[in-house]
């Protein structure tokens, strides 16, 4: 809403942004990064989602209306710019506790102690990339800050990463800055969290866990790189709870999930990285944002036909309001992710089913009745206009959503079979899967290739001269 209002103001058109009570703080913080901290907003009392028609009428006519008139015709406040430290400024000197107290009190840490980011440690990280420290990987909303290689190293140190993870961290921020991902939506109310999938030989080279307990903390690379993601979102993109992060409940950051490419190769499938357009053997990170997920336990059977009805049913049960990203706000951007235990993948593969066959099966069988689909969109989540027949007749959705007028006809969760992302990982000895509920266009999958690892002797790396501003 504010981004549209800023576009209006830039075009010389005065604007008024309608903001519910509980979102006024978010609006105030977001407007700073948009360069218009004084952009006027009109208060909508309470939340429209729980008000009767009479309450809504009273709130809009008694409160919002006056704000709108004042926003469009009245005086506007004067904007002021706050001063901040420079990119390479030292902001605190002292012991471990003192540094951590400063970082926590200034909103620069996630609540756990951080490794103090000293020049020496940052330079250790920079030795593991050929990129210039000043290279800008992108500009990140809502704070509108430059995602520099330098800042990647600083936050990597803080997260407890090892210096040799630096190419992975750079690739992650490159992905974060990709417009297709939509980092600016990371503070939305469903509070989804990014999952990072890692592919390529780098999984073994850096010692990532890709087997039992793959989503559990306790493995340095998986855990620290996952923590880095959330710290970078906080410190450079600017997503802080109670400010620009409006998650209703939220999720803690997820550890990195690498694919078990040994099993993928054994059954003749391709890894996720290839599905995302890269060559087999490339080191890649894939990011996408999920609002939740569930373990599908004890998938039983000795053939795909015996196993997969249960899995398809489990997929459907993860999806409710998120189908608005299939028909509605996102239009075909729903990308469910399924982590498939190696036993399941091997059993499916043994029957000469390709990953494409599995995707097709889920497309054909993970379906819900059309009337239920419409009820979720139109009635339950208060999306007032959406009706599958109307959307199809307007040419906005594929024919598969309106192949007949039978309300019991079953419609898919996604537009295409390839929208299902399949990753083989987890305990090789257990027959289970994990299904993630995707956040659609507000965290669309993006894959980036990781720069080559630099084979530096850890204790004898040449020290580069870098300019660091005096504190």
């Amino acid at each position: 809403m504010l981004r549209a209002s800023v576009a209006a103001e830039e075009a010389g058109i005065p604007s008024s942004t309608l903001v519910c009570d509980g979102f006024l703080g978010l609006a105030a913080n977001t407007s700073i990064g948009l360069g218009m901290p004084n952009i006027p907003v009109a208060t909508v009392p309470g939340h429209t989602g729980v008000q009767s028609k009479e309450e809504l009428r009273r709130n809009i006519l008694d409160v919002t209306l006056n704000d709108v008139v004042n926003n469009l015709t009245g005086e506007t406040s004067v904007a002021t710019e706050e001063s901040e430290p420079g990119a390479r400024d030292i902001v605190v000197k002292g012991g471990f506790d003192e540094v951590n107290r400063y970082f926590y009190e200034h909103g620069l840490a996630d609540g756990l102690p951080v490794v103090p980011p000293t020049v020496e440690r940052v330079e250790q990280f920079l030795r593991h990339t050929d990129r210039d420290p000043d290279e800008v990987l992108g500009i990140l909303l809502p704070d509108n800050r430059a995602a520099t290689v330098w800042s990647v190293a600083v936050n990597g140190v803080m997260a407890g990463c090892r210096p040799e993870y630096m190419p992975v961290l750079v690739a992650l921020v490159d992905a974060m800055a990709d417009p297709y991902y939509g980092v600016e939506h990371s503070g939305n109310t469903p509070g989804g969290e990014t999952l990072i999938v890692l592919n390529g030989p780098i999984v073994k080279e850096l010692g990532f866990n890709y087997t039992q307990g793959v989503m559990r903390d306790g493995f340095l690379p998986n855990t620290s790189v996952g923590r880095f993601w959330r710290l970078y979102l906080r410190n450079v993109a600017g997503f802080l709870p109670h400010k620009n992060d409006k998650a209703t409940f939220g999720n803690t950051w997820r550890v990195v999930v690498p694919e078990n490419e040994d099993v993928v190769k054994e059954i003749g499938w391709e890894p996720l990285s290839v599905d995302m357009g890269f060559a087999a053997g490339d080191n890649t990170v894939t990011i996408s944002r999920f609002t939740g997920g569930n373990h599908i336990s004890s998938i039983s059977g000795s053939t795909p036909e015996e196993m997969l009805p249960y899995l398809a049913d489990g997929v459907v049960r993860q999806y409710s309001w998120q189908i608005m990203f299939t028909v509605g706000q996102g239009m075909g951007t729903l990308r469910p992710l399924i982590l498939l235990g190696p036993i399941i993948a091997r059993t499916i593969g043994a029957w000469k089913w390709s990953k494409r066959d599995l995707q097709q099966y889920l497309y054909d069988h993970a379906r819900m009745p059309a009337h239920e689909y419409e009820r979720i969109l139109r009635d339950w989540t208060a999306k007032p206009t959406w009706n599958l027949e109307e959307e199809w007749r307007l040419g906005r959705i594929p024919k598969v959503f309106f192949e007949s007028s039978d309300p019991e006809r079953r419609v898919p969760l996604v537009w295409d079979p390839e929208d299902y992302m399949i990753v083989v990982t987890g305990d090789p000895a257990r027959n289970a899967a994990y299904v993630f509920a995707h956040n659609g266009v507000l965290g669309y999958p993006v894959t980036k290739k990781i720069d080559s690892l630099k084979a530096l002797p850890r204790s004898r790396a040449p020290k580069k001269e870098r300019h660091v501003a005096a504190p």
């Binding site: 549209a4 209006a8 005065p14 509980g22 989602g49 902001v91 430059a146 417009p179």
Partner: protein, 106 residues
């Protein structure tokens, strides 16, 4: 004061400079009477009802106020957001818009 096992560190700022300068707001209008107001909407949170109420309320105070429906612009928050927001300046000109209301931030 740090204890003897607490070490000594000089810690860097983990943020990076903002890349945006302060931008001026548009000149406000003298009155809404006779002006054309654009409705921008993200198609959620009962914005259609809110705009109907605003139309009703503003008409009482400014009988000749005119409206340009949200249907003219597309969804401002979703898959088409970038294209829709980028097109606004042109659309405002084409539709002779004087002011804009944007919702729903809820």
């Amino acid at each position: 004061m740090a204890d003897s096992n607490d070490g000594y560190y000089e810690a860097l700022w983990p943020r990076s400079p903002r890349q945006v300068q302060l931008k001026p707001l548009a000149k406000r209008l003298d009155t809404l009477e006779g002006k054309r107001i654009a409705q921008l909407w993200d198609y959620v949170f009962r914005g259609d009802e809110v705009y109907a109420l605003l139309e009703e309320g503003l008409k009482e105070r400014f009988p000749n106020v005119q409206w340009v429906s949200y249907k003219e612009f597309g969804n401002t928050h979703g898959g088409e957001e970038r294209e829709v927001v980028a097109s606004l300046a042109r659309r405002f000109k084409e539709l002779k818009v004087d002011a804009a209301i944007s919702g729903m931030g809820c």
